[in-house]
Structure formats: structure tokens, C-alpha cells
């Protein structure tokens, strides 16, 4: 019923002893997510909310509690280091929520990921990943989701929620929802997510939400055209964004005439993907040809 995570996924929280991290980790736990440890350097030996052991290093959380996934709520100057600590410890799925990590740090993380193919990073600057009814890692609101067979991948948090909620209201559930984040250098691309959804027998249809900047949506479109037989609907935000300005997300910028919404929409349509004309018609666009 899902990709990457399910009800058995053992999660360690890095930086969840801070205020925001604690709130979101407790929400995740209340949803049923199997948190097994927290990591905060200097607080090893303590208990997190009387529930979980706190360790000084991710390596200990892996050795002693069998953590396989991590979620990162560490402030920007230290977040890349936390990601690399997870990679080194052999964590297979790293979800980094932190917004505002310097690009240079992410270039180093990307190099580290290249030499550790067993680790996948989701984010940074993302809402996380959720398999409805089973596991919710990050900051997505659980009540808007419903277990089902539509895979959702998006660069934007709130637009992910729009799509999920539109589906749920119409009675369609989701297999897994992934927020890949709004930064120019990230761990998991649209293409990576599309490939996983395509290979997942329990995902029947896919919604892909993109925005201006870069060419990740175009690359995913080329792959979908060639390999994906499942119904795919898309939405691209930023048709009215002025060129040369960064629209909130560090990666959302039209520069030198590339990365425009119109270019992306044309590439998606050329690949046979239905593109929603407005953000309120994302689910409706998919449901025209997926029942």
C-alpha cells in the first residue's frame, strides 16, 4: 500500500527535543508512527516525553533501537551535519524538515549521498512523508489524509495538503504522499518519486505538483512519457511569478528564461499528462480519467 514507509518503520528524531520538533514528533506518534529514539547531542541518557530513549549519536539509536528512518528538526546551520550523521549511521530514509540550509552545505550532502547509495534523503525544506493510516514523518496534518491508491509528490507543503484534501473529500485515498521540498538542491526529485510510485503495485494513479525553477518536472515528464502507464495529473504553481524573483522557496525562481511555468506545463502536456488549470482542480483533473 505504500512506498518507503509503513506501520513498521522505526524512526529516530534528530532535534526533536526542541519546541517545534517535540510538537510535531508527538503528533506523528499520536498518528501511530513508530518512533524508537531521539538524538540530541549532550542529552544522551534522558527520556523524550517519558516515552523514548535519548541518545547522543544516531549511531547509538541504530545500534540499540534498530532505527532505520530519521526525521530532522535541527536548525539550518547544523542541519547538513545531522543529515550526514544519519547517512554515516546507515539510516536508509532521512527526512529533513529544516528550511534555510545553505546551498553549499547541501552540495556537500549531495556528494555524501552519491557515495552512500543505501541512504535516501527527502527534503530539506519539506513537510515530510506520509503513508496514510500507517506512518507520518514530518509536519503533514494527518486528518486530511485517507488510506488509498493515489501517490502524491510535491515541492510545496500547502499545495500537497490541497491535493490530499481534495482527494479525500471525493472519497479517494492516498498510497503515500511525499513533500520533496522547495530548495534548489534536494535529496529526492520528482523523477525519483515517480519511479517508486510506478513500481509500487498498490499505487494506481499519481499526482505531481511542481513550481517554477529548475527542470525537475520536465525530467519527470520525459520519464512518464516513456515508462509510466498509470494515470498522472499535475499542477504547476507560478504562472504569474515575475522572472528573477525568488518566490518564497529558495528554488522557486525563473532565471535566464528557464524554469518558467509555461515551459513546464508545455513539457507535461507533451508527455500526455493532464495539467490542472487551477489549484482547486487538482483532484478533479485526475479523476476525469481515473475512477
Amino acid at each position: 500500500m505504500s512506498i518507503l514507509i509503513d506501520k513498521n518503520t522505526r524512526v529516530v528524531g534528530q532535534g526533536i527535543t526542541g519546541k517545534a520538533g517535540t510538537k510535531h514528533a508527538l503528533n506523528n506518534i499520536a498518528y501511530g508512527t513508530k518512533y524508537v529514539a531521539a538524538v540530541t547531542p549532550g542529552k544522551g541518557g534522558a527520556k523524550f516525553e517519558d516515552k523514548l530513549p535519548v541518545f547522543n549519536t544516531v549511531r547509538e539509536a541504530v545500534d540499540k533501537e534498530g532505527a532505520e528512518a530519521s526525521v530532522i528538526f535541527v536548525p539550518p546551520p547544523f542541519a547538513a551535519d545531522s543529515i550526514m550523521e544519519s547517512i554515516e549511521a546507515g539510516i536508509r530514509l532521512i527526512v529533513c524538515i529544516t528550511e534555510g540550509i545553505p546551498v553549499r552545505d547541501m552540495i556537500e550532502v549531495k556528494d555524501c549521498l552519491r557515495s552512500h547509495p543505501g541512504s535516501r534523503l527527502i527534503g530539506p525544506n519539506c513537510p515530510g512523508i506520509m503513508t496514510p493510516g500507517q506512518c507520518n514523518i514530518g509536519i503533514m496534518p494527518g486528518y486530511i489524509a485517507k488510506p488509498g491508491k493515489v501517490g502524491v509528490v510535491s515541492r510545496s507543503g500547502t499545495l500537497t495538503y490541497e491535493a490530499m484534501y481534495q482527494l479525500t473529500q471525493r472519497g479517494y485515498g492516498q498510497s503515500t504522499c511525499i513533500g520533496i521540498g522547495g530548495d534548489p538542491v534536494n535529496g529526492t526529485s520528482h523523477l525519483d518519486a515517480i519511479k517508486m510510485f510506478n513500481e509500487d503495485p498498490d499505487t494506481e494513479a499519481i499526482i505531481m505538483i511542481g513550481e517554477i525553477g529548475g527542470d525537475a518536472e520536465e525530467k519527470a515528464a520525459a520519464y512518464i512519457k516513456q515508462y509510466v502507464k498509470k494515470p498522472v495529473a499535475a499542477f504547476i504553481a507560478g504562472r504569474t511569478a515575475p522572472p528573477g524573483r525568488r518566490m518564497g522557496h529558495a528554488g522557486a525562481i525563473v532565471s535566464g528564461g528557464s524554469g518558467t511555468a509555461s515551459g513546464k506545463i508545455a513539457a507535461l502536456e507533451a508527455a500526455g499528462i493532464a495539467v490542472a488549470p487551477t489549484p482547486s482542480q487538482i483532484a478533479e483533473t485526475l479523476l476525469k480519467f481515473y475512477k
Binding site: P141, G157, T158, D215, G256
Partner: protein, 400 residues
């Protein structure tokens, strides 16, 4: 959040620190400094360059009709006269928009006889998450134009700046540019090393030399310099933050950023207040879809407080073009009640004299809507984004 840019004269100072050859120059920020600055130039001809954060200066026109933001002068006396015309004047180029930008600094440069011009830059290659060196024999041209019309004249090499630029990577670039002759290659090699080191050490998003020139006496020189920095990394570069020129930025945007609001001024008349960058862009798009025109991009973020929402209203209302406001909130973890309280609080602090349409969805939406209904404020409630956009466009009127 915007990229931080700096002026050419500041970029050239950084170039000098990294061993990249530039021509001798001196900047002046007020009329009283002009004579002292020009005196630092060699006798004879002097180039005067207006310093604004926009390209196309040479072909620009000042709002008083004076032509050209880059001028070659025959003497120090002429350079002084030209500099006086530029300083305090407003330069319009194809990158500034019709309002132009006021010139607050002029930069004197020694002139140079050019044999050949090139383009050279380091920036991020988003596709692979690595820096890339971009070079072209078409110096002085817009690189986007070269890429569109003669892409074969551009050569790109991905580099690992933590390791340094490998000799073979330099050779690929030097052969493509025709800079492989031994003495020239030695200069080119030093230049590339300096460029990559500057890009990496100072957390740049772009370092661009356009044009890079070979002078008639065989020197490789950065004739122009453009550097942008990664805002997210400024915390570790106080020396770069100090170069920020706030007069180049919109005062409303600076105001908003001090409250953690992501705000960008546009030229329409329907203001938006949204949570989340993607939703904020999509809100602008749907206003346009139904025939309206957005006045701004505004992302209040996931943890907006009543104070932030109040200031957001104050800032969007300070834009005199605004004829209506659309609030679009998808409360994920955040409660719609919190947002509704923020709106009511804001309306009590800031007089809202234009139509206000509010769409709330998600967490605690019923309580949020109740708060708005009981406030007695003239708020139009909407169900869904499409309904909200249609309502505000109907209230404000379509744009021609």
C-alpha cells in the same frame, strides 16, 4: 527571500582578494568624493560607470534624458562632469523596469584596449547539485541569448570546489576558449582557481565575469563583475552582509522581512495573504485565471502570529494600488482559529478600507469561520480557492 546582490565595485574588491585581475578603479558615493576618486586614476582617459544592481547600464538612459550609464571620457575633467551628471540621477535599463534605479555610487576605471572578449561564470547546476563553470567565446553578450541562439558556443564543466578545479577541467575550458597557449593558460588557470575558491568560500550563488577580456598587451582581465550570495549562508559571512545596499531593495519588502514575512511587490490590485510559498504562488495564479491581477506575493509562513498577520495587513495596505484583499489559508498543523483571531486583531488595529475575502480550510476551520462571522467585520467568506478568487475579482473588477 531574495538573493543578496552587490555592486560591481564591491565585487571587484572581492576579485582582487582572490587573485582575479581587474583594472584599477575608485568609487565615489557623493559629489565631494569625486575629485579624490578620479585622482587615483592614471592621467588621460577614464571610464565612468554608474553603480546599480541591474545589467544593461551602458545602453541605459537616465530619467532626465542623459544617455549611457557607462562612459569613456578623454580626461579627468570630463570624467568629473560625467560623474556629476550620473550621481543622484535615475538610470533606466532593460533590467530596472520603467521606474529605473537611482545612482548612489559612481565607479572610475582605467581604460583598456581590448583584443578579445569572453564570458565566464560559476553557478549552481541544479540538475546534479554541483557547481558548474560556464564559459563562452561570446563575451559581452547576454548568456541566455547565446544559449538560445548558438548553444554550441557555450562550454560547461561541473566542478568539485572543495577539491579544487582539476587541470583537465581547466584544459577543457581553455581549449574551448582558445586560451591554451602556455603563458595565457597560466593566467587562465590562476583565474579559474580564484573564481572557484571565491564561489565556494563566500557561499555565492553566482560569480559572473561578462566580459572577461584579453587586453591588447596580453593580460586576462575581469572587465565587469557580478556576484550574488546565498541568503541562507549570510549568517557565517558578516563581511558580506556589510556590503548589502538596502537602497536597492523595496522598502515594503525590507519591512516585511523583519517580521518573517516573504513579500514581493507585483503590479496588480488584488493583495494576497497566504500560508506556504507554493499556495501563495498558486493563489496569484488563480486570481489571474479568473481575470484579476495580483498585487503581491505574500507567504506568512507556518507559524504566523497575530503580530505577523497584523503587520502583513499593514504592509499590503500601504500599497496604494491595492483595491481588495484575498486571504487564503490552508491550516495544516496551524489552527484556522489562530488565523481568524489574527485577522480580527489586524482589522481592529489597521483600518481595512477595501473588500476582504477570506478562505479558510483545514484544522479548526469551523471555529475560525465562527470567529470571523461573529466579529461583525465586513468579511466575505469563501469555500475553496476558486470561489475565493471569483469573489474577490467580482468585488474589485476585472483588469483590462
Amino acid at each position: 527571500m531574495e538573493l543578496m546582490n552587490i555592486h560591481e565595485y564591491q565585487a571587484k574588491d572581492l576579485f582582487s582578494q582572490y587573485g582575479i585581475s581587474v583594472l584599477r578603479g575608485a568609487a565615489a558615493h557623493e559629489a565631494g568624493e569625486l575629485e579624490k576618486a578620479v585622482a587615483q586614476m592614471p592621467d588621460g582617459r577614464v571610464v565612468v560607470k554608474a553603480q546599480i544592481h541591474a545589467g544593461g547600464r551602458g545602453k541605459g538612459t537616465f530619467t532626465d534624458g542623459y544617455k549611457g550609464g557607462v562612459k569613456l571620457c578623454e580626461s579627468h575633467a570630463e570624467a568629473l562632469e560625467v560623474a556629476k551628471r550620473m550621481l543622484g540621477n535615475t538610470l533606466v535599463t532593460k533590467q530596472t523596469g520603467p521606474a529605473g534605479k537611482m545612482v548612489r555610487t559612481v565607479y572610475f576605471n582605467e581604460p583598456c584596449a581590448i583584443a578579445k572578449e569572453y564570458y565566464l561564470a560559476v553557478t549552481l547546476d541544479r540538475g546534479c547539485g554541483r557547481p558548474v563553470v560556464i564559459a563562452s567565446t561570446e563575451g559581452g553578450m547576454e548568456i541566455e541569448k547565446v544559449a538560445a541562439e548558438t548553444p554550441e558556443k557555450i562550454v560547461k564543466v561541473n566542478i568539485d570546489p572543495a577539491f579544487g578545479v582539476a587541470p583537465y577541467e581547466k584544459r577543457i575550458l581553455a581549449y574551448a576558449l582558445g586560451l591554451s597557449e602556455k603563458a595565457m593558460f597560466a593566467q587562465f588557470s590562476r583565474l579559474i582557481d580564484g573564481l572557484a575558491k571565491l564561489y565556494w568560500e563566500k557561499d555565492c550563488s553566482l560569480v559572473e565575469i561578462n566580459p572577461l577580456i584579453v587586453s591588447q598587451d596580453g593580460r586576462l582581465i575581469a572587465l565587469d563583475a557580478k556576484i550574488g550570495f546565498d541568503d541562507n549562508a549570510l549568517f557565517r559571512h558578516p563581511e558580506i552582509t556589510a556590503l548589502r545596499d538596502l537602497s536597492e531593495e523595496d522598502p515594503k519588502e525590507i519591512d516585511a522581512s523583519s517580521f518573517g514575512l516573504n513579500y514581493i511587490v507585483l503590479d496588480g490590485n488584488i493583495a494576497c495573504l497566504v500560508n506556504g510559498a507554493g499556495l501563495a504562488m498558486a493563489t496569484m495564479d488563480i486570481i489571474k485565471h479568473y481575470g484579476g491581477s495580483p498585487a503581491n506575493f505574500l507567504d506568512v509562513g507556518g507559524g504566523a502570529t497575530t503580530e505577523a498577520v497584523t503587520n502583513a495587513f499593514r504592509i499590503i495596505l500601504s500599497d496604494k494600488h491595492v483595491k481588495g484583499i484575498l486571504v487564503n489559508i490552508f491550516g495544516g498543523i496551524m489552527s484556522c482559529k489562530t488565523i481568524a483571531d489574527g485577522i480580527v486583531g489586524a482589522a481592529n488595529n489597521v483600518h481595512i478600507s477595501v473588500p476582504l475575502v477570506v478562505r479558510l480550510e483545514g484544522n479548526a476551520v469551523a471555529e475560525g469561520k465562527k470567529t470571523l462571522a461573529e466579529s461583525g467585520l465586513p468579511i466575505v467568506s469563501a469555500d475553496g480557492m476558486a470561489d475565493a478568487a471569483q469573489k474577490i475579482v467580482a468585488l474589485v473588477g476585472k483588469c483590462a
